[in-house]
Subunit: 346 residues, 2 copies
């Protein structure tokens, strides 16, 4: 991969122009002591005049900071494109990286092995200074790998899943419980949940919490749960199979693990001639803009995904600068009622 070399101005040019040595320029730009005010000023002026900024490549090689953070996402491209979650999350991460003039190295991987290998080579090759780890599973290998390598990482997921890594997480259990209670308060007693990928840790957490929350209702209450792959198609299939039963055997409310599946569910209900929310209530999760674009609008468990990403990035900087492991909960999603939920009419 070669190309026209860019016109280069290096630290040497700056040093020459300021009449000092390379070392002095380096000291100035790293705000280290040992330079007089006057010299420092002269150096900065020279740099400004030459339009120079230290090369992050050279800096990295010389063994100081690495101003790139890594993120590997492991979901099929087709789903990713559709999931409003990730782009918003990434944009949140970016928003704080930019402040620190850091960049995000993004890679879509096909499996955890690939991700682990990538982390290792990124870290050993000093390509990244730290990493964001998402989509935790039970017995996830990544905390061990990060530990072994000494790779600064923050895990996006409940502490019970992230094996001692610093974690940033939403309280899914509480959120699920709130969702169930809300539907119960509306009068629903037959509640279903169309969950995400079963292998994912947060899915298990939600599944357990959902079970428990429904069980805590009166004995007559009934629960269904289906696992999917987060795709709209899967959401549609799950909804179809839940709604085919005759009324007493049919849920009157369905909670979805993301927005896409809820949208799909809405369309399945229409296709089956069921009215939303009269015949069946639907509750989405994440609350992207999509929820306000359907008819009826979708009630949803709503959270600030952008802010979530920003928190994750800030936490990562903490880890990189040596903070010990910690657990950082972000605000629990809150219920945002819209047009797709109502008391059951059946």
């Amino acid at each position: 991969m070669t190309a026209t070399p860019p016109p280069r101005v290096t630290i040497k040019d700056v040093a020459a122009r300021a009449g000092v040595s390379k070392g002095a320029v380096s000291l100035a730009f790293n705000r280290k002591p040992g330079l007089s005010e006057a010299t420092r000023d002269r150096i900065f002026r020279a740099a400004r005049e030459l339009g120079w900024a230290p090369s992050s490549t050279a800096r990295t090689l010389a063994g100081s900071r690495v101003d790139v953070v890594g993120l590997a996402v492991c979901r099929p491209a087709r789903l990713l494109g559709l999931e409003p979650f990730y782009m918003e999350f990434i944009s949140g991460v970016e928003s704080v990286l930019v402040e620190r003039s850091c960049s995000l190295l993004l890679r879509l991987v096909r499996g955890q092995d690939e991700e682990v290998g990538l982390m290792e080579s990124w870290w050993r090759g000093r390509q990244i200074g730290g990493s964001i780890l998402v989509d935790f599973r039970a017995d996830d290998p990544r905390p061990a790998v990060a530990g072994r390598l000494g790779l600064p990482a923050v895990a996006v997921g409940h502490p019970s899943l992230t094996g001692g890594l610093t974690s940033v997480w939403t309280d899914d259990a509480t959120a699920v419980t709130e969702a169930v209670r809300y539907l119960a308060a509306l009068g629903h007693r037959r509640i279903a949940r169309v969950g995400g990928a079963a292998a994912l840790g947060h899915t298990s957490i939600r599944t357990a919490a959902f079970d428990e929350a429904v069980r805590a209702l009166e004995p007559a209450a009934r629960a269904w749960q289906v696992a999917t792959d987060f795709s709209g198609d899967a959401g549609a299939r799950a909804t179809r199979s839940l709604l085919t039963a005759a009324p007493p055997e049919r849920p009157t409310a369905i909670v979805y693990d993301n927005d896409i599946m809820a949208v799909a569910g809405l369309s399945v209900a229409a296709e089956m001639g069921l009215r939303v929310p009269e015949d069946v209530s639907l509750l989405a999760w994440d609350d992207s803009q999509l929820c306000r674009l359907t008819h009826p609008t979708l009630s949803a468990m709503s959270h600030d995904v952008h802010g979530f990403g920003a928190d994750v990035a800030r936490t990562l900087f903490g880890v990189i600068t040596g903070e010990g492991p910690g657990s950082h909960p972000v605000p629990t999603p809150v219920l945002t009622p819209r047009g797709s939920t109502a008391p059951p009419k059946v």
Copy 2:
């Protein structure tokens, strides 16, 4: 940004283990002539045993290739998250980068000035070996900047917009024309288009093509066009204003510039008590999975966004390796009829 240093194995270790000099290892790993088969093998074996791979940072500094390509995207986070287009595009780009063990440096910027500055600093700092430029506007400054810097770049957009840069583009004009002809063939004579951001070059192209296509129909045909910001909200507003008029003054078909706005349009129609497709036909653009999740399903101008991204990446590699400027059209979107289009009943 400091942290526990990774346990490092360098080219020197590999050289020692293989009993050769650093130079030999470098020759082997760059597939350059001057080594015997036997030595080459010994070197690779040693590297494998030590788990070594050349540090891309050091390589970059030493003045050879830079194995990172840059992409700056300039749209508000809120929209980006929702646009299935970008993530799918990125995943297509990635798919090609991975083969060449290249990485993608992604940055969300707020304006073109910021983007231009970013490109300049990325390139001068040798952070990237080339760049993908998207969202061209009329009189876009980026071709000039890329030219001045000698930055290898590929422009995603019609050659008329990309000022001599190598471009990869979809033939929007033909696609729009096909969309209009299809609707006309169904019997529509009052056709509207809810377009994207007016400042964007491809929006202008579609707008002009739409006008012309409708004018080419019989004189009685009528056209409406509205510009938006690509958001679902804007799409909903535009649709609402188009559909409030009484039948003779109301379009019987609406073409949207992306999927999100079409989904929003669908819900507006429902909210206004209009049936789709009986009272109004809706045609989406891009054809993400979303189009199959609504009820009725959305007819759409469909293209392979993932493949598009892959083409762009491949083209960029061409530019980086010195290919002269060129124009690379990708397949024109094709009409995929579904449930949201039909002959007008009014």
